[in-house]
Structure formats: C-alpha cells, structure tokens
C-alpha cells in the first residue's frame, strides 16, 4: 500500500540571520538545527499529530511537508496534493470580502475560476458565513476567518491537510462539523497532520503521534501512548 508521506533522515538547519554592523566583529553565529534525523511514515487513511514543546520543530516539520522548507539532507516523499492551514492571514487578503478570498485561495491552490465558482456555495454553507460573506475579512472575528479558511481548504479536496495549532478555534458546533469533515478525509484514504499543544484535541482527532523534542523524534506511536509519555515528561 502506498503511503501518503515518507520521510527518512530529514535534517533541516536555519541559516544564521543576517546581522547589523554592530555584530560584524562578534563571533559568527552557527546554523541552528530545526530538525535532526526525522524519519516516519504516514500510511493512507491515517492522521498524525505532532506534539512537543515550543520550538521543538513542529512548525518546521509542517513546512517541510508543505514543500516550503527544503531539508539539507534526507528524503521527503509526499504523495498527493497538500493544503496547509498555518497561521491566519496567510493566503488571505484582509481587505477583500470573504467571497473574493475563497476565489483567491482556490486560485492559489491551482483551481480555475469556474471550478471555484461551483465550489463557493458549498464553502459558504459549511463555514456558516452566508450573512457576512460579502463583507471584508478584517471585519470577521478570528474564529470566523478560521472557519472560512478551513471550509475552503477542505472543499478543494486535498489528499493531505496540514494544520498548525488550528482546531482549537471555532465554536463547539463548528468543531463538530470540522471533526466530521476530517473523519471523512481519513475514510477516503486521505490524511492529515496536526501540530498542537492541546493534548485533548490531539487524542480526539489523531491516531498516531510524533513527539518532537529539540528537532528530534523522541517517540513515535499510537496517540494515547505518546501523549501519556509526553504528559509524564512535562509534569516532571
């Protein structure tokens, strides 16, 4: 069976940031490791959680999967179209209406205007934003804007959805709908990767988990097992 994601020995370093003239004569900063030797496989129809402390490499790993960061060494195989839901505002224009943003997000993902016009009613219905869809996004609350991006990203039917600290937002009714849609993705042999600090959400949504610590895979396995170990570690 083909896997959705295969990573072997992925190492990623950030170059030192360019510095001002005052630092010119101080010691040269070293490259900082973001990921060290990360290896894992995500089979079709599974969902994966990335957990770990701040700065452990969760977001870097998601960006590697989205083909935004290219690792220094190792092999990244991502079989299928990915859609990324990272921080809010990316791929959105705050001054445009919700409707125009749907079109824009669709075009960015490579869909034609015509195709997006067909998908738009469904997206509006799912996001429950029909009343405000023709208002600019900067008038939306954070939860509303997130609903819109989630509805759009999942409507274009990606094989792999990448979510960074995402699902916590939205009211409980929308969360249930979102959960159903993610379940549907998994049932269609697609999958998603969710980076989160919220262990309750992770347990509920994901089957497998990776615990990242300082860029390294500390533990991979069943979500309950990994989270129990992680909780024990953090409560120490």
């Amino acid at each position: 069976m083909e896997n959705l994601i295969e990573l072997s020995n992925v190492t990623l370093t950030y170059p030192p940031t360019a510095r001002g003239i005052s630092k010119l004569f101080s010691k040269q900063a070293k490259n900082s490791h973001a990921l060290k030797d990360v290896t894992f496989v995500l089979p079709k129809g599974q969902s994966l959680a990335l957990i770990g402390l701040n700065g452990s490499g969760k977001s870097s790993l998601l960006r590697v999967l989205a083909r935004i960061y290219h690792p220094d060494s190792g092999v990244v195989k991502v079989n299928g179209r990915t859609a990324a839901l990272f921080n809010l505002g990316i791929g959105m224009r705050m001054d445009l209406t919700g409707r125009k943003n749907i079109m824009l997000m669709g075009m960015v993902s490579g869909f034609s205007r015509k195709m997006m016009l067909e998908l738009t009613p469904g997206i509006i219905e799912f996001s429950e934003l029909a009343d405000v869809i023709d208002n600019p996004i900067h008038t939306y609350s954070q939860g509303m804007a997130m609903r819109l991006s989630f509805a759009t990203a999942t409507a274009i039917n990606p094989e792999i959805l990448l979510l960074d600290e995402w699902i916590g937002a939205g009211d409980s009714i929308f969360r249930q709908k979102a959960e159903k849609r993610l379940d549907g993705m998994v049932r269609q042999a697609n999958g998603f990767v969710l980076a989160s600090h919220n262990t309750a959400i992770v347990k509920r949504y994901c089957q497998k988990a990776i615990w990242l610590h300082e860029g390294e895979c500390k533990l991979i396995g069943n979500v309950d097992y990994v989270i129990d170990e992680f909780n024990q570690f953090t409560s120490k």
């Binding site: 950030y14 170059p15 360019a18 960006r63 989205a66 083909r67 935004i68 960061y69 290219h70 990324a84 990272f86 921080n87 505002g89 990316i90 791929g91 224009r93 001054d95 445009l96 824009l104 075009m107 960015v108 490579g110």
Partner: protein
C-alpha cells in the same frame, strides 16, 4: 541547487493569478480613496505638466519636440525605476505567502512586474493624450519602440528576481539602491537633451538608463533606431539574465528562511 527553469515555467503557467494579485495590490494601495486608481493617472499628468512648464523654458528649439521628449522619457523611466524599486521588496513583501504556500518564487517577481505594468498602462493613456494634443506623428520606424519595450520587460524579470533574492538576504543593499535611484533621474536625459550637456554629454553614455530609455524613446520621438544603445542593452540583458538564473539556482530554497 534547484533547476531555475522549472520555477520560471511553473510561475509562467499561472499568469492570471499573478495579474489578479497585482491588481488587488494596486487597489489596496488606493483603498478608501474616492477616485482610486485614477490617482495614478492624475499624479503622472500633474508631474509632466509641471515639468514641461518649468524645464520647457530652458530647452532649446521646438517646444513640441521637448514636450514629446520629456513625456515619453518620463513614461519609460517611470517603468524602469518602479521595476527596480519594486524589485527590492518583491520577495520580502510576499513574506507571508512564501512561508504559507509553495507557490513558485518567480511568481512573486511576476506579481511585482504586473503591478508596474498596470501603472505603465494607466500612464500610457496620458502619454497618448499628450502626443495626440501635440499632433505628434508616428512613423513606421516607431514600431521599434514596441521591440524596445519587450526588451525592457525581459530586463524587468531578471532585475526583479536578482534584486528580490539579494535584498531578502541583505537589507542594506535595498537602501543603497534607493538612494542611487534618486540620483539616476537627474543624470538620465529626461528633463534635458543629451547635447545640452555640451562637452560632458559623453558622461551619459556610461549610464545604462540612457540606453534603456533610448531604445523606446528614440523611435517615437527622434524617428531613429539607436543601434549603439541596442548593443549595450543587449549585453546587459544577457549578463543580467544569466546572473539571475544563477542566483535562482543557488538560493531559491534559501529565500524562505531569509524573507
């Protein structure tokens, strides 16, 4: 190393997206103003009117010729200088898109180019109106200006890519180029004819903008094809394009960390 042609190809395949993003950018610049994009036309007309009025009094010979010289010259110079100034931030200003999507990097250069091109098209209405008012006639040789402009667009592409990469890594270069661009306007023959500089006219030959301007302006205003300028522009185009391709191959993957 990445294949620079792949990035260019992927970006070219999605021209409507870049055009749309550029249009939104411009609209956003003038948002909440009543006349919106018409400001671009208004500001350009005002600038030309004042310059013709003030500098026309120094210019020797036919005032019609000077007006056409200045109008076309400023029109083309604006296109060139906007491409350079936008190039300084073509990738930095797209930061959230570069970090949030895996769109081809060259696309953001095309987006910046499209913004400048939209301005140029709006300006061209003013230029056509002025030439019409001057009863300026167009000769068959003027068609060379079209070829000249296509050459400017090709140069805009490599400039946007090369400057975009360099300035995302080193922000000082951007400020340096900005200050140089302020000076360039005065040492490029726009507000005066080359020959007015007398025995210092040769200095202008060392300014590449003189030649970039000439390949578009001379066929329209002087009814000549500046062969010498074409050779110089041709050499810069080849060298510049190769440098941009090399930069893209070496650093395309680094830009996401730099912006």
């Amino acid at each position: 190393m990445t294949n620079p042609f792949l990035d260019i190809y992927l970006a070219m395949k999605r021209l409507p997206l870049w055009g749309r993003l550029a249009y939104i950018d411009l609209q956003q610049t003038y948002k909440r103003s009543i006349i919106g994009l018409a400001w671009i036309v208004f500001a350009f007309s005002l600038f030309i009117a004042v310059k013709v009025l003030v500098f026309g009094s120094f210019a020797p010979g036919d005032p019609r010729l000077f007006s056409a010289w200045l109008t076309v010259g400023f029109w083309v110079y604006t296109y060139i200088s906007f491409n350079i100034l936008e190039g300084l931030s073509s990738f930095v200003s797209a930061r959230s898109w570069i970090l949030g999507t895996n769109l081809p990097l060259v696309g953001f250069a095309l987006q910046a180019m499209a913004r400048v091109l939209l301005r140029f098209v709006l300006h061209s209405f003013v230029v056509i109106a002025i030439l019409f008012y001057l009863k300026w006639t167009i000769a068959p040789v003027s068609a060379w200006a079209i070829l000249g402009f296509l050459c400017l667009m090709l140069n805009a592409l490599w400039v946007q890519i090369a400057l975009g990469i360099i300035c995302s890594r080193n922000r000082d270069i951007g400020y340096l180029i900005q200050s140089i661009m302020n000076i360039m306007f005065f040492i490029t023959p726009i507000l005066y004819f080359d020959k007015q500089l007398g025995d210092k006219a040769w200095l202008l030959q060392y300014n590449p903008f003189t030649h970039y301007l000439a390949i578009v302006r001379d066929p329209i205003v002087m009814y000549t094809v500046p062969v010498n300028s074409w050779v110089i522009v041709g050499i810069i185009t080849v060298v510049g394009s190769i440098s941009a391709l090399v930069l893209l191959a070496l650093y395309r993957r680094k830009v996401a960390y730099w912006v």
